[in-house]
C-alpha cells in the first residue's frame, strides 16, 4: 500500500513517476523546469544562425544541403522546447523575438563565430556531442513527461549531426597539409569551450535543483566526463590532438580549468589560469557575436507582424 500522502508532488517525484501537468507541480518545480527548457530552447535556437553563417562556406551542393538540414533540425528542436514553454504559460513570441540578446541563456561558445566549413563540422562533432549528452540525459531521466517524450526524435537527429561532424573531420584530417592544420586550430579553440559548456565543477556547485527535481540525472562533471569519453578517443583516432588524456577510468584535462580565453583571437592561454568568477563574468557579458546572432532571427519579426 502507498502511504496516505502518496498523491503529493514530492511523493510522485520520489516514486519516479512522470509529471504531466502544471496542476501537479510545485511552484519551485515549475520555475526550475522553465529555466531548464529556456536554456535548452535557446541553445538549439542560436545554433541555427551560428551554423548558417558557416554552412554558407560548404564545399559542395550536397554538403550545403546537409548543413541546411542540420539547421532545420535545430530549429525544430528549439520549437519543441518553446512549444512546451508556451503550454507552461510563457509567451513564445516574447521569449524568441522580444528578449534582449544578452538575456538569452545559451552556452557562451555560440557567441564566438564559426567562420568556415571546417569550424562547422568541428561544431557538429563537439557541440552537437555536448547537446547529445545533455539531451540524452534529459531524455532518459526527465521527470516531466511531455519533454521526455518530445526528445525521442531529437536524439536520432542529433546523431545525424554527429555523423556529419565525424565524417568530415576524418576526411579533412586525411587530406593533411593546410586542411588538417585548419582542423587542428578549430579543435584547439573549440575543445576547451565545449568542456566549459557543462558548467561549474561539482565541487563548486553545492546544490542542484535540476537534480533534486529529476529534470536531469547526471551532474555537470559526469556529463563532462561522458563528453570527454567520446570526443577524446575520436579526435585521437583521426590524428588530431586534444588537451586531455585518460587516467584510470576517467579523463583529465591537460590545462588549468578554468583558464583565460581571448574570444577575438579565438585563443586560450593555458599559462593563464583564472577563477570561475572570471568565467561567469565573461559568460554574463556574452561574446563577440551575441547581438548579431540573435538579430538574425529577430530583425524581421516586427516588420512582418500581421495583426488580426
Amino acid at each position: 500500500m502507498e502511504p496516505a500522502n502518496s498523491g503529493t508532488f514530492e511523493a510522485l517525484l520520489k516514486r519516479g513517476e512522470l509529471i504531466e501537468s502544471t496542476s501537479e507541480m510545485s511552484p519551485d518545480y515549475l520555475r526550475e523546469l522553465k529555466h531548464t527548457l529556456i536554456v535548452s530552447g535557446d541553445t538549439e535556437l542560436i545554433s541555427a544562425p551560428a551554423y548558417y553563417l558557416a554552412a554558407k562556406k560548404a564545399p559542395s551542393v550536397n554538403a550545403f544541403m546537409t548543413g541546411i538540414a542540420i539547421i532545420q533540425d535545430e530549429l525544430a528542436h528549439a520549437h519543441i522546447a518553446f512549444h512546451i514553454l508556451e503550454e507552461l504559460g510563457e509567451s513564445q513570441e516574447a521569449l524568441i523575438f522580444r528578449r534582449d540578446p544578452k538575456a538569452f541563456r545559451y552556452p557562451y561558445a555560440f557567441d564566438v563565430p564559426l567562420e568556415s566549413w571546417t569550424e562547422l563540422v568541428v561544431a557538429n562533432a563537439m557541440y552537437d556531442q555536448a547537446g547529445f549528452c545533455l539531451l540524452g540525459d534529459i531524455h532518459e531521466q526527465c521527470s516531466y513527461g511531455p519533454w521526455k517524450r518530445g526528445l525521442v526524435k531529437v536524439m536520432a537527429e542529433e546523431n545525424f549531426h554527429l555523423r556529419n561532424g565525424r565524417n568530415w573531420s576524418k576526411r579533412i584530417s586525411q587530406a593533411g597539409g593546410a586542411a588538417k592544420d585548419e582542423l587542428q586550430r578549430a579543435v584547439d579553440w573549440m575543445f576547451p569551450l565545449t568542456v566549459e559548456w557543462f558548467g561549474l565543477p561539482d565541487n563548486l556547485k553545492q546544490h542542484s535543483a535540476q537534480l533534486d527535481y529529476r529534470l536531469k540525472g547526471l551532474t555537470n562533471d559526469q556529463l563532462r566526463q561522458q563528453w570527454l569519453s567520446t570526443v577524446v578517443p575520436f579526435m585521437e583516432s583521426i590524428g588530431i590532438q586534444v588537451p586531455a588524456h585518460k587516467e584510470n577510468s576517467h579523463y583529465v584535462l591537460d590545462y588549468p580549468f578554468p583558464c583565460t580565453f581571448d574570444a577575438e583571437q579565438k585563443r586560450w592561454d593555458f599559462k593563464d589560469s583564472c577563477t570561475w568568477e572570471d568565467v561567469l563574468a565573461r559568460w554574463r557579458a556574452r561574446g563577440p557575436r551575441n547581438a548579431e546572432m540573435v538579430a538574425l532571427f529577430q530583425e524581421s519579426f516586427s516588420k512582418f507582424q500581421v495583426r488580426a
Binding site: A63, T66, A156
Partner: protein, 108 residues
C-alpha cells in the same frame, strides 16, 4: 549465374541490410533504396535512389555503401548509379521497414 556469383550477390544484399539510414532507424534495403544490383568479377554495380532529391544524407549513404561493400571479401570495386525513375515512395518499404518507421512515429 554461377553459384559463386549467386552467393556473392546474397552476401551483398545481406551487407546492404546492415547499413542504417543516417536519419531514420531503418536499413537501406528495408527502406527500399536499392533498385537492383549486379555482381561481376570482384565488382558490384548497384542502382540506388534516395527518398528525396534534396536528401541531406546522400553523401553519407553513398559513402557507407562503398565502405561496407569494399570490406566484403571478393569485392574490389563498387559502382553506384543514382537513379530517380521510378521515384521512391513509401510503397517501396518492405513490411519490416514499414514497421520500423511506424514504431519510430512516422505515418507510412
Amino acid at each position: 549465374m554461377t553459384s559463386l556469383a549467386a552467393s556473392l550477390e546474397a552476401r551483398v544484399w545481406a551487407a546492404l541490410a546492415e547499413i542504417d539510414d543516417p536519419e531514420m532507424p531503418v536499413n537501406l534495403v528495408d527502406l527500399g533504396l536499392i533498385y537492383g544490383l549486379e555482381v561481376g568479377e570482384g565488382t558490384v554495380r548497384l542502382r540506388l535512389t534516395f527518398t528525396a532529391m534534396g536528401c541531406p544524407a546522400s553523401d553519407m549513404i553513398v559513402g557507407d555503401i562503398r565502405e561496407r561493400l569494399l570490406a566484403e571479401p571478393g569485392i574490389g570495386d563498387v559502382v553506384i548509379d543514382v537513379v530517380w525513375d521510378p521515384p521512391w515512395s513509401a510503397a517501396r518499404l518492405t513490411p519490416d521497414g514499414r514497421q520500423a518507421l511506424q514504431a519510430w512515429g512516422l505515418a507510412v
